[in-house]
């Protein structure tokens, strides 16, 4: 029990019927102290946030806000069994998300007509607030330095559902009462539920909707838009984003969105601010590529789902607008390089080099950590993190708009789940070769029709290539359809019956965490 990987029987930290761990994990003096110091740091950040009158009022106004009580447990779950550089990398990633999210919610609550702006106190701020669809790329915000771009769905649904596994079940129920069938993707379904329940903050001067990620998402947006009493613009990003013939239209949509924002906020697109942000964004993407290069080696360092959650925030939401993220990226790179030089292992035994394909379960984003701790399956990268990294040409304005058009079509996930066979199937095999992966954790998100359409093709093609394709069924934000335990069982079954392997940590094989946050 201590600083070595797998020196703690992690399954025993979990007690059936409890919401959280029985006690904190002992990681040896140095790592435990570091982990606890970050816990204290997050406590400080969140205390500062929650003690604001607007936040306190929000706690009693919005059902979804209660999910954030589980934020500490959420971070602990993702740090399970982690040591050394990975612990530090993980904390840089999560702690920055915590800080960014508290800032987001702070602005939302200040501008909210139900809370901070009830008597017009924050009118000036509200007039600078543009509401972006959760699935929209914030690259279109990069030329508006005086405006704030926020998504209401991220704090209420997206993050909430990762923090507490039952965090959005109520909203799914609300949508189903509205006659949305239960076979749809729970994400737009829950987002719609929040709208029907009138549980979104009322704020902003205008809003931008989009058709990304998928058919279900664009349909949910149609109804949400009716609940939003704001002038709105709809960006229709072409679906076949690999075809050259669609790029001009995607650019046109971005340009039209910019004009719409200019019209409703009185602000003008600022090329200098855009160039400044794009320098940061390009640098972030470059650093990201370097992380992935390390992951291709025998000693990968920036792994698991921590990579995805951070990349998601940085790629889609930050989009170069916050230079502190670049500093963090560079610090992560430094730690990763150091780890690589010292041949640091991310699992006690790296038995399988794996890639994750498909969409992860929001209620079990720590699944990759379990894979490494329990079976030595190290996830080197995942479908959602394989994003565009090509530089944006900020000096050539015409080309810049084309680049933004391309990025806009290639939002996270959509760049593989939509766009055709080449990106949905073929690219997986290319990545497997590049990363020398022998295993694919293939998520079957049972509401995601886009990826389901490749089920048979992936199975057959994977077999031809001698890859282990492990199908893991889940329902994105609805653990009542396929629980965390069910997901683990999909892997356990394969590892025991096909691979005939024994677990690295037997206490993790069969545990009941149904009631956990």
């Amino acid at each position: 029990m201590g600083k070595e990987l797998n020196s703690v029987e992690l399954g025993k930290l979990n007690k059936p019927g409890k919401r959280t761990y029985t006690h904190r994990e002992w990681r040896g003096w140095k790592d435990t102290f570091y982990d606890f110091s970050r816990w204290l740091h997050n406590l400080k950040v969140m205390s500062k946030f929650i003690l604001k009158p607007t936040s306190l009022k929000a706690l009693f106004t919005y059902r979804w806000f209660g999910n954030y009580l589980a934020a500490f447990d959420y971070i602990d779950r993702h740090m399970e069994g982690v040591r050394g550089p990975q612990l530090r990398i993980g904390h840089i990633e999560y702690d920055s998300i915590v800080e960014h999210l508290t800032q987001t919610m702070d602005t939302l609550f200040k501008c909210d007509k139900r809370i901070g702006n009830k008597h017009g106190k924050y009118d000036a701020l509200n007039k600078k607030l543009v509401i972006m669809d959760e699935n929209g790329m914030m690259v279109i915000a990069t030329g508006f330095p005086n405006l704030k771009f926020l998504s209401k769905e991220v704090p209420s649904v997206y993050t909430g559902s990762t923090i507490a596994q039952d965090g959005v079940l109520h909203y799914i129920d609300v949508s189903e009462e509205f006659q949305i069938p239960s076979d749809v993707c729970p994400m737009p379904c829950a987002e719609l539920g929040v709208a029907i329940d009138e549980d979104y903050p009322i704020c902003g001067v205008c809003s931008v909707h989009c058709n990304t990620t998928c058919d279900g998402s664009l349909m949910g947006n149609q109804i949400e838009d009716r609940h939003d009493d704001l002038p709105s613009f709809t960006m229709a990003a072409p679906m076949r984003h690999q075809q050259q013939s669609v790029l001009a239209y995607s650019r046109d949509q971005v340009v039209a969105a910019i004009h719409f924002i200019e019209e409703h906020t009185g602000e003008k697109w600022n090329w200098d601010a855009f160039a400044k942000n794009m320098k940061v964004y390009n640098a972030q993407n470059k650093v990201f590529d370097e992380w992935l290069e390390i992951n291709k080696t025998d000693f990968p360092q920036v792994c698991g789902n921590n990579l995805m959650l951070y990349r998601d925030a940085e790629y889609m939401v930050i989009s170069g607008r916050d230079a502190t993220f670049l500093k963090q990226d560079e610090e992560i790179l430094r730690l990763a390089k150091e780890g690589y030089q010292h041949k640091v292992k991310v699992a006690k035994e790296m038995r399988h080099r794996a890639l994750v394909w498909g969409v992860h379960a929001q209620y079990y984003t720590a699944f990759n950590q379990w894979l490494a701790n329990c079976w030595g399956i190290v996830v080197l990268c995942d479908m959602l993190s394989f994003t565009l990294t090509k530089p944006i040409h900020y000096e050539d304005h015409e080309q810049a708009m084309l680049d933004l058009g391309e990025y806009n079509m290639n939002m996270i996930m959509r760049n593989h789940s939509n766009g055709g066979y080449e990106v949905g199937v073929e690219q997986l095999w290319q990545y497997c070769e590049e990363y020398r992966a022998d295993t694919v954790i293939m998520y079957e998100h049972i509401g995601c029709k886009s990826m389901a359409g490749y089920h048979g093709l992936i199975e057959e093609e994977g077999r031809k290539r001698g890859l282990h394709i492990i199908w893991v069924y889940h329902a994105l934000m609805n653990p009542t359809k396929a629980s965390r335990k069910d997901m683990r069982e999909d892997v356990n079954r394969y590892m025991k019956t096909v691979m005939r392997e024994t677990p690295l940590d037997p206490t993790l094989v069969d545990m009941d965490d149904t009631t956990r946050w």
Binding site: F178, Q179, I180, P181, D183, V184, C185, P188, L192, H209, N211, C214, D215, G216, L218, M219, G220, N221, Q222, I223, D225, R226, S232, T234, A236, P238, M239, R240, Q243, S245, V246, A248, Y249, D252, Q253, A256, N418, G420, Y421, E444, I446, G447, K449, S450, A452, G453, Y454, H455, G456, L457
Partner: protein, 338 residues
């Protein structure tokens, strides 16, 4: 649909699964090409499977995928036209030497207009108090107009239109209520037959593969290229839920109201094929809107692809809907009498 279910999973649109199954059986070996508009992800996956599993064996067979509009404006029109040129017309010309000139498109539109005029003429009999054609019969003609060679179909439609001029309608009371059938794709007229056996007559068909919209004349002007005009027609008249702007969503509901009035429908059956993402949401919203904003009695159902004649559950629901419509009629008459 076992094989279709394996490749596409059991929660996939059943129409797509059935199509892939048929393709795997060799049922589409006669095809020279599949052109798949990126209107819905599931249909695209279906076509991708057909292509990559080499289900169609003709030597020059090809599959082409094209982006289609999700908004209705001039910028989108330009994009739509380009997509049709690049992914429909050019490949057809390159593979099979098909004439894609403006003149050829105008001729094709004229041929199509002949069909549309005939279908409209036949369909207009549904507006009568005693319709001379049932919804089921009309759906068979309409479906044929989507998949039969025009030159073979026109004489038959002309003959039918002539017959209908003197056809004796069913006596009043044969059908207990008039409904508009609205929703996702229906390529099996047995659904209408089932509905009509349950006591309603389907007087308006606003579903995919129905005639409203889709079987109206396209009027071309001489001063603009035909392709742009055809694209504009489909973009502006299209009522597919993939059109996501609020104006188009509102237009969709207003259009249902318009045809319900025009065809004197007592109520609406809003249906969707199971697992259709678009209509999962479109049906729920339409049901709420048509009931609460427009005041129509509605029956909202999600149904399996193959309804057949033996679907007891749907029959029961339609029968109950008919009874509710009758009760509403009685109550209205009582109110008017007072």
């Amino acid at each position: 649909m076992e094989m279709g279910g394996y490749y596409l999973t059991a929660l996939f649109c059943e129409a797509c699964r059935a199509l892939l199954e048929r393709a795997l059986e060799g049922g589409f070996n006669f095809l020279d090409a599949v052109i798949a508009p990126e209107a819905c992800a599931m249909m695209n996956r279906c076509v991708e499977n057909i292509e990559h599993l080499n289900c169609c064996t003709k030597p020059k067979f090809f599959a082409s995928y094209c982006d289609v509009p999700m908004k209705s404006d001039e910028v989108t029109l330009k994009h739509y036209v380009l997509q049709m040129q690049e992914h429909v017309l050019k490949p057809l010309h390159e593979h099979y030497g098909i004439d894609i000139s403006d003149q050829a498109i105008r001729q094709a539109v004229e041929d199509q207009n002949k069909i549309s005029r005939l279908i409209t003429e036949i369909g207009d009999y549904r507006k009568l108090e005693q319709p001379r054609i049932t919804g089921y019969e009309f759906a068979v003609f309409c479906l044929a107009s989507y998949c039969c060679p025009k030159d073979l179909l026109i004489p038959m439609l002309e003959e039918t239109a002539e017959e209908l001029k003197t056809r004796k309608p069913e006596p009043l009371g044969t059908y207990r209520a008039r409904v508009a059938l609205v929703g996702s794709e229906v390529d099996d007229p047995m659904l209408l037959k089932l509905a009509e056996e349950s006591g309603v007559i389907v007087v308006a068909d606003r579903y995919c593969f129905g005639s409203l919209p889709g079987r109206q004349e396209i009027v071309l002007q001489p001063d603009e290229d035909a392709l742009t005009q055809v694209c504009r027609y489909y973009m502006t008249s299209g009522q597919c839920p993939r059109f996501l702007t609020t104006e188009k969503v509102d237009e969709r509901h207003a259009y249902v109201d318009k045809i319900a009035k025009e065809y004197h429908a007592d109520g609406l059956i809003i249906e969707q094929i199971k697992f259709c993402d678009y209509w999962d949401y479109g049906r729920a919203l339409m049901n709420a809107t048509m009931q609460h904003e427009y005041g129509y009695p509605t029956l909202s159902i999600d149904r399996p692809y193959n309804v057949g004649e033996s679907s007891g559950q749907i029959r029961t629901r339609i029968q109950a809907f008919v009874e509710s419509l009758e009760i509403k009629t009685i109550e209205r008459k009582e109110r008017e009498a007072k």
